[in-house]
């Protein structure tokens, strides 16, 4: 049975930002905005009685992320610094916990991103690093709609599992235009390997493989995968292991809706 949405309970303190397999939330201080903006085209003619508009190419933006300049391995400065002038390319997931740690069915912002800069400044006496993200032109060619759901919170699994399902339609959407998904392995498996697969179902009981990740849980990393065409109403994540013992990871999924 699909998980039920938790409602009007999304707070900043329950938000988590995962970048390339690293949870930066412990250093996070601020977020400017996370948006999908269709951008307007002014179509007003001389004789129109009110200004009128159509939409242009949409812009996906995650701006104004500010974090403490923590230089420990896997923390904000270590992950976000752009050494050697190279632009950092990341899989980015912003998870919005509903009343607690983000869990299955909670909203997520999903983005194959290029990081624009790593500006460091002083804020209230401490050094902070600020990062802005846009869609990565080198890897993202389609299915970039970012507003999705959490398929697996950033928690550990120790045995083969099938997660609770999520109803993607939420009562109103159609799902004919593909999807993207990102996995973040935040604590690696030490003894074996995992196979992670997203399944979909029209009836929440008969499941078929929709897309699988290449990532096998053996290293801290992330991966973005895409699906073309229709997605069934219900999705869930499965993980199978052979000799594996424990892996901590998060998965976000965003079907193209508008």
């Amino acid at each position: 049975m699909a998980v039920t949405a938790s409602g009007k309970d999304k707070l900043q303190r329950h938000m988590r930002l995962l970048v390339g397999g690293y949870d930066l939330s412990g250093d996070a201080r601020a977020l400017g905005s996370a948006s999908y903006d269709p951008t307007e085209v002014d179509m007003t003619g001389w004789s129109n009685t009110v200004m009128q508009y159509l939409t242009n190419i949409p812009e996906v933006v995650l701006d104004g992320f500010e974090a403490l300049m923590n230089d420990d391995t896997g923390r904000a400065y270590d992950v976000l610094k752009t050494s050697g002038g190279a632009a950092n390319l990341h899989e980015v997931s912003l998870l919005f916990g509903g009343g607690g740690e983000p869990a299955i069915g909670d909203p997520a912002f999903v983005m194959g991103a290029v990081q624009l800069g790593d500006m460091v400044a002083s804020s209230d006496g401490v050094a902070v690093v600020t990062a802005n993200f846009r869609v990565d032109a080198s890897s993202v060619t389609s299915f970039a709609y970012p507003h999705g759901v959490v398929l697996h919170g950033n928690t550990a699994e120790t045995a083969t599992f099938s997660s609770t399902s999520v109803d993607l339609t939420n009562g109103v959407y159609s799902l004919a235009n593909g999807a993207q998904a990102i996995i973040h392995v935040t604590s690696a498996e030490s003894t074996g390997t995992w196979t992670f697969t997203i399944e979909d179902s029209a009836n929440d009981s008969t499941w078929a493989s929709l897309v699988s990740f290449t990532v096998d849980g053996t290293s801290i990393t992330s991966e973005r995968v895409t699906v073309a065409g229709a997605v069934d109403r219900y999705v869930r994540l499965t993980g199978t292991n052979g000799t594996a013992t424990s892996c901590t990871f998060a998965v976000t999924f965003a079907p193209v809706i508008p």
Partner: protein, 148 residues
């Protein structure tokens, strides 16, 4: 009727992706709604010989801004409704109750608008969505009427 129209008696509707009008008022952040009605930009027509600055109006705009709490309740939550309508058009209706919930004859602003956004941000510790509605090209101009 009269001098008794309060924000707490306002009702905000926007269509979901299936064309059903959804009441988003419970998720509307107090004091966040802007731009209801027509904003007429000024054209300064003052000539050198005029005794006072004088103006005409240009084509009016109707850009409505609002902020909603990030409610993901199935079907009716503002996050659920608005994320499915990003870049799409729908009927926007704002009803103003006079001293109570809106009833027949109360003021109402309505039109076909395209939704731009949502942009998610933090406000006083809560996750909120900023959205902008602009009139849809080719549709009838939004206007004041009476509801409900």
């Amino acid at each position: 009727m009269g001098k008794d129209i309060l924000e707490r008696h306002l009702i905000f509707f926007f269509d979901d992706s299936g064309g059903t009008a959804r009441d988003l008022t419970d998720d509307l952040v107090p004091g966040s709604i802007t731009g209801i009605g027509l904003d007429h930009p000024e054209i300064n027509m003052t000539g050198v010989g005029n005794d006072v600055n004088q103006y005409l109006t240009n084509t009016p705009n109707s850009e409505i801004g609002a902020q909603f709490f990030m409610n993901d309740t199935a079907t009716t939550g503002a996050y659920t409704v608005l994320k499915g309508q990003s870049g799409s058009a729908g009927t926007l209706t704002i009803q103003f109750g006079t001293g109570a919930a809106p009833t027949t004859g109360d003021p109402e602003w309505e039109g076909e608008y395209i939704l731009f956004g949502p942009s998610i941000s933090v406000s006083d510790g809560a996750m909120v969505m900023d959205v902008t509605f602009r009139p849809q090209s080719g549709a009838a101009a939004p206007d004041w009427t009476t509801g409900v």
